[in-house]
Symmetry: C2
Subunit: 346 residues, 2 copies
């Protein structure tokens, strides 16, 4: 169990529970997490509380996806003996640390955060920004520091969130007069973001442009058939474009024979290679990637009580870790303690 | 114990732990709380977390005053068998509810709060408002609703905070589709605010214009001697002013013989009554009020372990109540629950 890996660097990562995971997540983060779990002490946070910062109107969706995502994790090979899967809303130290840190961050600083600025625009909040949304970088700092994580895998657009976390860490350490919290660094994935099957940069279930990890062979075939290629490539004999051609982007991401993909690209650019041939190859490649995930996912989905038990045990372990950090921080700041004990049977 | 008073209306009130209580608190709130505890289910919150929203730079002060204020409560006659004294920072449901409610309140709404506007100015925050300070009305809504309090004694300048709480209550109830939380009403005291001994409207320990509940006979005598009267009343024979004369304001608040006070006022206005006579009477009156409080306070202060135990037991009880509310609210909103059990030995 992770508690017995004291010398490993600590990673905190996770997902907002707003929808089941898809191939974009697989390429962008899941594969990486499976690789890192054998060398790092990794905590995977099911971020249901953060999900509410822009889904307060739809708590049922946030709730429904908790076990969906936990099942996704297990399906791709996250091993609960190596990685701790835990539920954010059930770790009260995270909320306590958030409120504590909010006293050390100004409203003006939060409003300057470029990630928040972009996301406010993307969500169309306008002037009606929920306070929880403005403050979510502080909550994220609480998450990261509660686990004393030093490595946080994030997209390159999220680097400002790590900078915000480290500002808070330095502020708390300065106030405490001791290094009670470690700084964290962003681990930015080498692979670029996978586009949607329609070619749009942003994948989302609501746009119907994703391939979920539970996709059947038929769903994969249908998604590949609808996939955006080169609108100018009308006949097989025409020369085609590879840039922006989603089928090739997906082959780059999933085909384990890059030489064969390079050869296909060359033929496509010259002319004489029809979309249907390339799509057939991608269909086979994706089916080979997804089939074992789908099968494992189905097996876990048949036993939700087992998945729940994994989340419950992970959350119990995470509670021990995060409660200890809250105590450390409060003690370092000289805050009053009743020295209570809480035997969490999470 | 309060848990066995299910039919009584619930009161939540308390104090930020930033300094020991004084005669201003006695007149403005403590007397009232002692009276209300026999007819209401009353919770007294030692608001150490809220104190940090404008004392983040001085956590030691916030910490030091937790037991000071608990001792003040017991000294004035708060009975822990009738009133639950509890420590805010040790009730994790309050932080969880705060973060949850923050998703239902916009930043613009918080910035419009007149109490917050005034306080931002009074504290000289300027543009550097800590996020925790801007959001403290949400934390206060969490406090009130976590106890399902329907009565909140507040100063008349704090009525907007109750309105903010009720907005959140209605928003949560609408989202939940059920009346999971009750609205609260402000209980505004009939007695006006006691001025400082120097005549300033605001009493504060840092201004040295308060008489603490632990004041010795010498300290009371000294404070009364320094007390602001009528600068135009130079000789005893001169006519004097009663309005704005702090000695008479204090006599109005503490002397239990209003007829005698009225007679003194008439003589003072006519001329022929020296300040020293009125001050002597006030000195006697205040000593009669403070002496028994001071004695009880000294007895409790000799046994801080006993005070700590009272706060610990009160916090344990309050934890049961507030954890139950958090569960109710989460369930009503349809949020995911691991059905964990936490046996808090607070």
């Amino acid at each position: 169990m992770p508690l017995s890996m004291p010398d490993r660097p600590v990673i905190l990562t996770g997902d907002r529970t707003t929808g089941p995971l898809h191939l974009g997540h697989y390429v962008g983060s899941l594969q990486n997490r499976v690789a890192l779990q054998s060398t790092h002490r990794q905590f995977l946070l099911l971020a249901d509380a953060q999900a509410l910062t822009d889904h307060a109107h739809d708590p049922a969706k946030v709730s429904r996806n908790v076990l969906e995502i936990a099942t996704d994790y297990l399906a791709v090979g996250i091993d609960p003996e190596m990685t701790t899967i835990c539920l954010q809303s059930h770790l009260p130290a995270l909320a306590d640390l958030t409120l504590l840190y909010m006293n050390f961050v100004t409203v003006a600083r939060l409003e300057r955060n470029p990630t928040i600025k972009d996301e406010i625009q993307a969500r169309g909040f306008g002037r009606d920004i929920p306070a929880g949304f403005l403050c979510y970088p502080v909550a994220q700092a609480a998450d990261i520091t509660a686990f004393k994580a030093t490595i946080v895998p994030v997209g390159d657009d999220q680097a400002p969130l790590i900078e915000q976390t480290n500002e808070i860490v330095r502020r708390i350490n300065r106030q405490a007069g001791t290094e009670v919290l470690p700084e964290a660094r962003a681990l930015i994935p080498s692979v670029g973001r996978l586009p949607g099957v329609d070619g749009k940069a942003k994948m989302s279930k609501s746009q119907g442009n994703t391939i979920p990890l539970s996709a059947t062979a038929d769903q994969i075939r249908d998604a590949v058939r609808r996939m955006f290629t080169d609108p100018g490539h009308v006949r097989a004999a025409d020369p085609g474009r590879v840039e922006g051609n989603v089928v090739f982007t997906y082959l780059d991401a999933f085909d384990d024979d890059p030489a064969a993909v390079a050869d296909l690209k060359a033929r496509y650019v010259r002319g004489g290679l029809g979309d249907s041939v390339v799509k057939q190859r991608l269909d086979d490649v994706l089916e080979a990637v997804v089939a074992p995930i789908r099968d494992r996912r189905a097996a876990f989905a048949r036993d939700p009580g087992h998945v729940l038990e994994i989340v419950r045990r992970g959350t119990q372990l995470a509670r021990t870790v995060t409660d200890a950090t809250l105590r450390d921080v409060r003690e370092a700041l000289g805050l009053f303690a009743l020295h209570e004990r809480c035997d969490a049977n999470a």
